[in-house]
Amino acid sequence: MAEKKTNRRDFLFTATYAVGAVGVGATVWPMIDQMNPDASVKALASTEVDVSSVSPGKTITVLWRGKPVFIRRRTNEEIAEAKAVKMEDLKHPEKDEDRAKNPEWLVMLGVCTHLGCVPLDQKGDYNGWFCPCHGSHYDTSGRIRKGPAPTNMEIPKYEFVDANTIKIG
C-alpha cells in the first residue's frame, strides 16, 4: 500500500517536471533562433556581374552576401599550370575542370579557409593567392598548396547568363 502511494506520487512529480521541461525548451528555442539569419537576409538576391571589362590576367572582386568573390580571367599559362598539377600533390584534391567550368573564368569565394581572411592576388609560391594572416598559399585554381588552411577556396553557385554576365548565387 505504502509503496503504491509512493509510485503514484513519483509519477505525478515526474510528469510535472517533464511537461515543465518541454515548455522551457519550447521557450528557449525562439530566443536562440532569433539570432539565425532572418527572412530578409535569407531572401537576399543573387548578384549579377558584368565581366566584359575584365582582361586576361586580371581579377575583379565583387561583394556577394557580404563576402568578396574573386572573378579571375585566367591566362592560358595559368590554366595549363592549374591542369598540370598532380592530384597526389594536393592537400584537398580537386580537379581544375571541376572548379572552373569555363577554364577561362575562375569564380570563387575570396575567403581563406583557415580563419576567414581575404587572400592577396598573384602572391605566394604557386602564382595564385597568398593569405597574409597565417601564410596559406593557393595555386592558380585557388587550391591550397602550403600553409595552415585545410581546404581549397570555395566555389559559389554561379552561372553565365550570357557571354559577359555572371550571376552568382
Binding site: P30, M31, D33, Q34, M35, N36, D38, A39, S40, V41
Partner: protein
C-alpha cells in the same frame, strides 16, 4: 541572514563554501521559514521576479535587432515584426510584458496596503519597493519612446516638458534632456541607453528588496509576528515554490492570451504611425498603468503645482510607514481601515478612468475630487484612524485560528469578535 549554521556534506562543497558561501545562501533560500497561511496575494512577488526576467531577456533579444536612430527605429521595429525569426513573438511578449508587470506590481502594492506589510520592521523593504516602482515607470516610459511612433514622440515631448515647470532652470533642464531644441535623435539614443540600464538597476534593488525581506521574514494575512522556524512556518522549498509556481502559471495563461490573441489592445493605434514632429495625435493618452497619475497631473490647473501633485502622489507612498499610525498591521482586524482601503482602491480606479478621458467638464471635476481624496486618505485619514479606530482582538499565533477549526480568516475573525 541565516538562522542556523550550515555545513555542506561533501568535502568539495565545504571547501568551496568556506571560500564563497553560495551553498549557505542556497540553503537559506530553500529552508527560509515562510508563514504557512500566506494567501495567493503573496504569490505576486514571485510573479514580479518572473516579469522582470522576462523583460530583461526579451529586451536583450530586441536590442540585438533594434536600431536606435530617429530615421530607422520605426523601420527596425517593423523589421523585427516581419523578418526576424520569432521577432513578432518576442516583441509582443516585451510590449505586453510591461503591462503585465504593472498589473502584478499594482496587486503587489495593494496587497501590502491591505495587510500593512509596510509597517515596522519592514519600512526599508517598502521604500526599496517604491524606488523600484519609480524606476519601472521610468523604464516603461522610455521603452515606449523607442518604437518612434506618434505616441512615442508626443509622449516623450509631453513628459519631458513636465520638467519645464521647474522655475528658472526648467527650460535648461528640458533642453539638456533632449540634447537639442526638441525631442529628436539625441533624445532617442539616450532614452535607449537608459532603458537598457534601468532594468539592471531594478534587478539590483530586487536583490536588496528580498534581502531586506529575509531579515524580519514575511508578513502574513493575520499580520502578527511569528516565531521562525516554528509550527507557523513552512520551508520555502517546496511549499512556497510550488504555490508560487501554480499562481505564476495562472498568470502566464492571462499573459499568453494577451500576447497571442490581443497583442495590441493595451497599446495605442497611433504608435503604428511613424513619429511626425508636425502633427500631434488627437488624443494623447499614456499607457494605462500611468493613467491615475496622469489624471492627478491634469486635475491641477497650475503647471508647476500639477507636476508637484503628481510627484507627491507617488512619493507620499514612501512616507506611508509613518503616516499610518496604527499598530495593527492586517486590515482583517481593522474594520474601519478596511472600508477606507476599498474606497482608496475605487478612488485610484476612478483616477485611472478619468485619466483616459478628455480633461474637461464632468471628467475634470471627478478627477479633482478623486485627487483630493487620494491625498486626504494618506495625509488625514490614515494618521487619525490609527488613534480613533477600535481594532479587533488579534490572535496570538497564526495556528490559533486554524486550530480553532477553520483556516478561513473571515470565520476566525468572526469567532474573535
Amino acid at each position: 541572514m541565516s538562522d542556523h549554521e550550515y555545513t555542506p556534506k561533501s568535502k568539495v562543497g565545504k571547501w568551496f563554501n568556506d571560500r564563497l558561501p553560495l551553498l549557505t545562501l542556497a540553503n537559506h533560500l530553500t529552508e527560509y521559514p515562510t508563514p504557512k497561511n500566506l494567501n495567493y496575494w503573496w504569490t505576486f512577488g514571485g510573479i514580479l521576479t518572473f516579469c522582470l526576467i522576462t523583460q530583461i531577456v526579451t529586451g536583450l533579444v530586441l536590442a540585438m535587432h533594434y536600431i536606435a536612430h530617429a530615421d530607422m527605429a520605426f523601420d527596425s521595429v517593423e523589421h523585427i515584426m516581419r523578418d526576424v525569426n520569432y521577432g513578432w513573438l518576442i516583441r509582443y511578449i516585451h510590449a505586453n510584458g510591461a503591462s503585465m508587470f504593472f498589473l502584478a506590481v499594482y496587486i503587489h502594492i495593494f496587497r501590502s496596503l491591505f495587510y500593512g506589510s509596510y509597517k515596522a520592521p519592514r519600512e526599508i523593504i517598502w521604500i526599496i519597493g517604491i524606488i523600484i516602482y519609480l524606476l519601472m515607470m521610468a523604464a516603461a516610459f522610455m521603452g515606449y519612446v523607442l518604437p518612434w511612433g506618434q505616441m512615442s514622440f508626443w509622449g516623450a515631448t509631453v513628459i519631458t516638458n513636465l520638467f519645464s515647470a521647474i522655475p528658472l532652470i526648467g527650460e535648461g533642464i528640458v533642453t539638456w534632456l533632449w540634447g537639442g531644441y526638441s525631442v529628436d535623435n539625441p533624445t532617442l539614443t539616450r532614452f535607449f541607453t537608459l532603458h537598457y540600464l534601468i532594468p539592471f538597476l531594478i534587478l539590483g534593488l530586487v536583490v536588496l528588496h528580498i534581502w531586506a525581506l529575509h531579515v524580519p521574514g514575511n508578513n502574513n494575512p493575520v499580520g502578527i509576528d511569528i516565531k521562525k522556524p516554528s509550527k507557523d512556518t513552512v520551508p520555502f522549498h517546496p511549499y512556497i515554490v510550488i504555490k508560487d509556481g501554480f499562481a505564476l502559471l495562472m498568470f502566464m495563461i492571462v499573459f499568453a492570451f494577451f500576447v497571442f490573441y490581443t497583442p495590441n489592445i493595451l497599446g495605442h493605434a497611433d504608435n503604428y504611425i511613424e513619429a511626425n514632429p508636425l502633427v500631434t495625435p488627437a488624443h494623447i493618452v499614456p499607457e494605462w498603468y500611468l493613467l491615475p497619475f496622469y489624471a492627478i497631473l491634469r486635475s491641477v490647473p497650475d503647471k508647476l503645482l500639477g507636476v508637484v501633485a503628481m510627484l507627491s502622489a507617488i512619493l507620499i507612498l514612501a512616507a506611508l510607514p509613518w503616516l499610518d499610525t496604527s499598530k495593527i498591521r492586517s486590515a482583517v482586524f481593522r474594520p474601519l481601515y478596511r472600508q477606507f482601503y476599498w474606497i482608496l482602491v475605487a478612488d485610484v480606479l476612478i483616477l485611472g478612468y478619468v485619466g483616459a478621458m478628455p480633461a474637461e467638464g464632468l471628467y475634470l471635476l471627478i478627477a479633482r475630487i478623486a485627487t483630493a481624496y487620494y491625498f486626504l486618505h494618506f495625509l488625514v485619514i490614515l494618521p487619525v484612524l490609527g488613534f480613533k479606530e477600535k481594532t479587533l482582538p488579534i490572535p496570538l499565533s497564526i495556528t490559533e485560528p486554524i486550530l480553532g477549526g477553520s483556516p478561513n480568516l473571515a470565520a476566525a475573525k468572526k469567532k474573535e469578535s
